[in-house]
């Protein structure tokens, strides 16, 4: 079974988001990483890029697939997870922690409220 932490919000395209203050941390879910298999490369945006909710901000590659990743909420990129450059496998081993992808500064801290909660996402992937 996939790990779906209760304290995060989700979108159907399998990204998770956690908003603390005006910063949203974003990554892909445990389900998404297990479907992909070993992640070998992560393409991330430049710091400072402005994203709208639903924008493609990068991609995650395994040996034989590549998936675009979408911003669940709007904001400005303030940090990307540089560790993924050398250790893309962090997405497999710790998708909700060391394997996060980026942080956005959000204008609207309630932007994630309308997204899927853990139960709704679990229903989505079952």
């Amino acid at each position: 079974m996939s790990n779906i932490p209760e304290d995060l919000k989700y979108v159907k395209s399998h990204e998770w988001v956690k908003i603390e203050g005006d910063v949203a941390t974003i990554g892909i879910t445990d389900f998404a990483q297990s479907e992909l298999g070993d992640v070998v490369y992560v393409d991330l945006p430049e710091v400072g890029r402005v994203l709208q909710a639903g924008d493609i901000f990068g991609s995650v590659e395994s040996v034989k697939t590549v998936s675009d990743v979408y911003a669940p909420v709007a904001g400005t990129v303030v940090e990307v997870n540089a560790a993924l450059g050398a250790q893309s496998e962090l997405i497999n081993s710790d998708p909700y922690g060391a394997g996060f992808m980026l942080k956005l500064k959000v204008a609207d801290a309630s932007a994630a409220d309308s997204l899927l909660d853990a139960a709704a996402y679990a229903a989505e992937i079952s």
Binding site: G37, D38, V40, V63, K64
Partner: protein, 496 residues
Amino acid sequence: MSNTLGFRTKRMPEPRLIFEQSNKGRIGCNVPVADTPEVNLAAILGETRSDLNLPEIGELELLRHFTRLSHINYGIETGFYPLGSCTMKYNPKINEKTAGLPGFANLHPMQPVATIPGALEILVGVQDMLKEITGFDEITLQPLAGAHGEMTCLMLIKAYFESRGEGKQRHVVLVPDSAHGTNPASAARCGYDVKPIPTTEEGNTDMEALAAALDGSVAALMLTNPSTLGLFEPNIEKICEMVHAAGGQVFCDGANMNAMVGTTRPGDHGFDCMHLNLHKTFSTPHGGGGPGCGAIGLKSHLEPFLPGPVIRHEGETVIADSDRPQSIGRVSGFYGQFLMEVRAYTYLRAYGKQKMADISRFSVLNANYVRARLKEVLPPAHDRPCMHECILTAEKYKKENGIRALDISKRLIDYGFHPPTNYFPLIVPECFMIEPTETETKETLDEFCDALIEICREAVETPDLLHDAPSTQIVGRLDETLAVKNLNVRWLPTSV
């Protein structure tokens, strides 16, 4: 269990890299030494290089190296190679002999056109025969491979719309979800936006979705017929009419032409242009992944835009015409894959009028036979007669035994067969795309089907045999993740 892969014994050494066999002072060829006066290289060239790290190998060792490598490589002449969508048919030996004639092999592409009437005769001969076989008005042999042919067709379409002042407006190319990846990639190469069109459960183009997608922005529909599901599109005429009514063009992906040779002509179906893979349908050797050879056919309204030079009849002679103001220009360096055209010409003349249809008839017979023999263990994705290839699914072994199509394929290698195409088309889960071609005997097909039936039994009873397969080859399954993460794409003295 048979292993048809060359002569190997347990005591035979592992193949080492050629660089590890190098020994200072050896040479593998008696190179010519100039008899002209010696010169001072530095004075003539300026700075020259001091290092050149290429191997030094004697001629016998060189040949043994490649003979060993050939023993760990599988070709059509090694055994059955039912790789779907690739048409791995026998490549007749006489084709190699004719292509090797000095009057073909020793031609320089920049020599005066007046000195190559025989070459032009071959090119125009292939064009004329392909016109008749496909039903198109014109053929060009300029593209160097299938994907290159697709791209050239889209360029013709683009030039056509630009000439009508519709270039900007028509920026969308429709591509079915079952299409080869080269289709959307070729469209993108021509600056088009790609929109997918779904396939129905029966395996046909979704007519409603197509109707909804057709508007003034559509430049073309790229359709593979027979489809990548191995099925003939029964609505093909209607589809072409609909696209034409919306002002668009229809391109036929000719990857599956083998099902149609001598039996039906895509030009008659309503297509405006198509590409052919002479290395599939017309038997030029695949060479381990190229040279491909990509002719294209087109209707006369696209003719002004043909890439140059255009080889055509003029009165009694054949000319190479480069003076064409509306041409899209060159798509390749010279005359296309000329020596492959010699092979295709040889092949076409061997079949001729009398036997040409046998190509499609026996390829379709073989595919339906494999489909019928395997239907109990690997059900067909669609309950319809297939054309030259059949699409089967191994979904139940994944669900019930944790065995994937890939595992079955790898086990086939242990039985001495090259696996079929897996996981394509993308819309059929755990699929096998099996294309036997017309050149295989019933005995070979039976051995292959018996092996697959046995492997499907193993999948249920001894699944580990499949997980660990292949076990008969020089290497077991390779770590592709490591290959990407720890990229090693050239040898360095320290890298091994």
